[in-house]
Symmetry: C2
Subunit: 659 residues, 2 copies
């Protein structure tokens, strides 16, 4: 195929996507349940709770959001990779180190995929992992506190898209580079872009997760230069293996929409990580220099610490045989998904007109028999037909992702033809199709990626919103659609807008998370070195140019609430401890006109706002979170004098009345 | 009353609030509509639109959110005062100046109140104004583009809570200080906090809004030292007057929860702004030095410009008689609200056991007759009984805010007793009461603050969420409740979570906004100096250490997409023009591992990301907003060489294939 032909074909695909979207522009509700019926099925009446937590990636907002299903209501935005002025995440002295990287403080990222922790292949409700697609990082959120408690940077990666997929006992989460780049020292990295084939490499990192959830990079595979897109761990019989979709096996570096769409097949890469572990146990692999940050939030002080790591263990799978094999997969595969039994691996080639389903049993036989069609960059390529269970014919246009319901059915999103297609894993027969509005990306079935899906609902996360809601100018929300999949036919129940741009999401029954959710932090467990655990400990101390305010907050006053003797040139640290010991009584703290954000302090915790006064005068501070009938009165004043002033440091603990 | 007694009383109030909240802890639905009925009434079926836009303040998130009613769905978060990593607001070179103040760049604020523009006392759908409660600012959002297009800082203000309330033809929005502080030069401002009575002053600013929406400070009243809380303009017969609630007439400066709750009555301050205009026309008032920023976003280039202003016209209402009068109002009034006719002014004293309703006609008569009970700080105080229409007896505990339905009814939120109370403006009789979960703050009825409310719904914005949704650890969403108020009795229909902490909100019929909402920016109108309005204009230019990339984006490639010859020490400006001319096809742009955010470029617009490379190597860039089936291929590379490298600047426009 010539470049020109390829271009035409690609443009035809794009045109089809446009037609598909525009055809649906007039609001319609094909296949929807009756209005009254659908309304009742998504209505969660006041005072009752949703049935599932849906932990949804925020895409280019860098956060996760917690959505209730079936209501579609956004129950919270969890700050993960982006600074969050709302609660001071990334602004408080305690949380700033969480956003530290080898490039310094990075206030934003592009979070694409969620993995919830598993035990024996099932959701266990402990943690949610998310990937930073831009600056390569993985975060862990504690599902007891719904706090981001750990962020690990990934070295030798340029984009961390194929991440953070998880093994069935949370042994590992993986992180593979989206873009290959030259690795090594300055001289090896400063090479012409058109030397891609010689110099550009990919990496796949296996990150060990210990019993407490702490992450460390166990090893990194250095692969041929290509792009990794998505991945899934084996489970059950295929436990010990991991499957990654790859694209750009053409090794193009410019105009990829044409140049990386040349080959009829790219690959699914099968990784035998138990084999890699054997090599490591035998002393194989090379420890190489690599600079990357590892940031951990302490449970008791809520202080994040950032450690710069120095090296990583690399394995070369060309040299160390039997770690990786390629399976041909048409065409520019996006999703690779493993069914609940672990036997079937579904490859979704976004430019393919069919969906191949591979058999793990057949794959093992083919590898054992060395039934290869050749090599790619020194890696054996298994014969397509030998690993194939079968193909889903004419599923629709632009297959992207597949989820499972645990009843033998698979659901694949079709971006170009804007639909969800239900098919039988065993017979490969298409059973049902439902339109999406518009251009669906990922899908989520509660428990869908685990060994025991809960079925019942399917959420389609759509890429184009257009006319689905009241318009808000050129910039629109992204959107999701909820389907009931409990019957033979999918029924559209609800459109709901999302926060940021959702990519993948997982849904988990409320019963696995709700009982363990903590309501406040115990003041007695607070180990923050600047905590004032009672009003008797409130005070102000000067250490050279630093002024440390040990402040308490409780409905409805701060102690101290009048401070004098601060001077231009000082750095003032307000360490505010929230003395409340009850649920949903945060206090906020802000300085009038400071050029930073607020801090929001949960009951029992301490947070620190640093302020460098820039002018002389009396400045008010106040509680930013409406906390009581007398919240408006929860305020104080700090007086800033010239640098050479002789005003002495003094403060009032709020015991004096007006004079 | 001694301080000790007062303290006890305050604690009793707080205890009542706790009991009220905890009593409701078991999910119940008193007074709710039947489930099926309520479900159908809030269900907006897929493909159809909500009936009202609800423009909701985000409180401590600093933004506005657009919510559809009756569904309660969040249709968009509009960045206003806080940096928004999601779309690059506050990070792009174009938008950074929007967050400029006299204290430099301020990335956060605390947005409390929304005012929608009015003509003849009715919503006209042009603009939404919001106040920054922390760094004193007012913003204007254009309801055609839903973009923040102007931000004006308020000088001589310490907190801008009583803001941005609006007159019936959008002649003015007002901005009054929440905290009084010492004003003047360094020497006047550097005074002991306990000299409050002598030295601390309040200010009330009247901001002129011209026909294009542009804001300028017309004049500023310098008032006695007190706190301003909320305000409403007169309308109809009371047009030309403005009413402000005040608290802390005790002039306390420490432990305000006790010391500012001493007096039985504080004040509503009535301002005759037409009188102020007369004085100004007669050359009265004093131009005084004041440094404050005025930031305007250009419609065609989307470039914000920040201008530092130098002076403001101040009027002294003690010297210039008849501008202001005080009306006594029990006790620590929070809301002051004017009914649709303009005749009645409702004062909601948050510690009061009744609600006084004043008559504008009686107030005018009392002023004319000089029927005063004395003076406060040189300002006449009208006799309470002379201005009073009557009192609503036993309305509940902790009245905060009042809205109107245009059918003679008022609705007041009761924070302490956690309920909404409906009463007759004419008879002052309580007609109905409905519990809220929990501790309601503001209320919003569509058109409620205008001369022609639309009635139908009431939204209660609650301050405590607790157990209303699936728990998300110690930090919870804030929450709203939707009531049907079309009948005699209020019916609870829906609980829905909010974004940030909502304070005030306004709701407006979709028909007033939807038809004017623009879908994209016309490329031909783009006046950005670095725009590349076609791929033929894509290029890279070096100007000393600055490298300017004139880049285009269109599905699914960037031009240029390979760049070499950038060196350590350079500043690279990616000026990305989105060539698409269709709705809902933004492109995003990010550099791998850059320590900034992304930019999100709407069709037809140009946005600029500045990047200072910090290491040698080849760095990928990519589109962050899933735009087509080949979105994953929308990428490029930039090579960074050492400072002393002789690699020359060159770039590829994406026409070459792999070599």
């Amino acid at each position: 195929m010539t470049t020109l032909q390829s271009k035409k074909w690609v443009f035809a695909m794009a045109a089809a996507a446009l037609v598909s979207a525009s055809m649906g522009c007039k609001p319609t509700t094909p296949d929807a349940a009756s209005v009254g019926d659908a309304a009742e099925r998504v209505y969660v009446k006041p005072g009752t709770h949703d049935e599932f937590y849906n932990i949804v990636s925020g895409g280019f907002n860098g956060q996760m959001s917690v959505v209730g299903l079936p209501s579609g209501r956004v129950l919270r935005i969890l700050p993960v990779f982006s600074a969050h002025p709302e609660n001071g995440y990334g602004f408080s002295e305690e949380s700033k180190p969480m956003l530290n990287t080898s490039h310094g403080y990075v206030p934003w990222d592009d979070l694409h995929h969620i993995s919830l922790s598993q035990t024996k292949g099932e959701h266990d409700g402990r943690w949610a992992f998310g990937n930073a697609n831009n600056t390569p990082r993985i975060a862990r959120v504690d599902l007891k506190s719904f706090e981001t408690v750990e962020i690990l940077e990934i070295p030798n990666s340029s984009g961390n898209h194929s991440s953070p997929f998880i093994t069935e006992n949370t042994e590992y989460v993986v992180a593979s580079t989206r873009f290959s780049v030259p690795l090594g020292g300055d001289a090896e990295r400063d090479v012409p872009i058109n030397t891609f084939k010689e110099n550009f490499k990919g990496t796949v990192s296996f990150i060990k997760v210990d019993d407490e959830g702490h992450m460390s990079i166990a090893f990194q595979l250095v692969t041929p230069g290509m792009s990794f897109d998505l991945a899934r761990a084996g489970k059950g019989k295929s436990h010990g293996w991991f499957f990654f979709s790859t694209y750009n096996s053409e090794q193009a570096y410019t105009l990829l929409e044409v140049n990386a769409s040349q080959r009829d097949k790219d690959f699914i890469m099968a990784v035998n990580w138990k084999k890699a572990e054997e090599y490591i146990a035998a002393g194989k692999g090379k420890m190489t220099k690599a600079k990357y940050a590892h940031n951990v939030m302490d449970h008791n002080s809520h202080i994040a610490t950032s450690t710069m790591m120095e090296e990583v263990l690399q394995l070369d799978p060309v040299e160390l045989k039997d770690i990786i094999y390629f399976i041909p997969c048409p065409k520019s595969p996006h999703g690779t998904d493993v069914d609940p039994t672990g036997e079937y691996i579904v490859g979704s080639g976004k430019l393919a007109a069919l969906i191949p389903v591979f058999s793990f049993t057949k794959l093992m036989k083919a590898i054992e028999a060395q039934d290869f069609e050749g090599e790619y960059a020194g890696i054996p390529v298994v014969r397509y037909e030998s690993a194939l269970h079968g193909e889903v014919k004419k599923p629709g246009l632009g297959p992207l992702h597949t989820e499972f319901d645990g009843r033998g059915n698979a659901y694949t999103s079709m971006f170009v033809s804007s639909e969800v297609v239900k098919w039988s894993i065993e017979t490969l027969e298409v059973l049902d199709r439902a339109p999406t509005y518009y251009s669906v990306g990922h899908l989520s079935v509660p428990g869908g990626p685990t060994a025991k899906p809960h079925g019942k609902y399917l959420v389609a996360y759509n890429k184009i919103t257009k006319d689905r809601y009241l318009p808000t100018g050129p910039e629109l929300t992204q959107s999701a659609q909820l389907y009931d999949i409990s019957g033979d036919k999918m029924q559209l129940l609800l459109d709901f807008p999302t926060i940021g741009e959702p990519h993948y999401a997982e849904a988990i029954p409320a019963a696995l998370v709700e009982p363990n959710s903590i309501k406040f932090y115990k003041l007695e467990d607070n180990t923050h070195p600047y905590a004032a655990k009672g009003e008797g400990q409130a005070r102000v101390e000067r250490k050279g140019k630093e002024v440390h305010v040990y402040m308490t907050s409780i409905r409805s006053h701060f102690s101290p609430d009048n401070i004098e003797g601060v001077k231009l040139g000082d750095e003032v640290y307000f360490h505010v401890t929230n003395l409340e010991q009850d649920w949903d009584v945060p206090h906020g703290f802000a300085i009038k006109g400071a050029n930073t954000a607020e801090i929001l302090i949960m009951p029992g915790a301490t947070q620190t706002l640093k302020w460098v006064p820039d002018r002389v005068g009396v400045v008010a501070f106040y509680c930013t979170d409406f906390c009581s009938a007398l919240h408006q009165e929860m305020q104080g004043y700090i007086r800033v004098s010239p640098a050479n002033s002789d005003v002495e440091l003094k403060y009032s603990l709020g015991e004096t009345g007006p004079q």
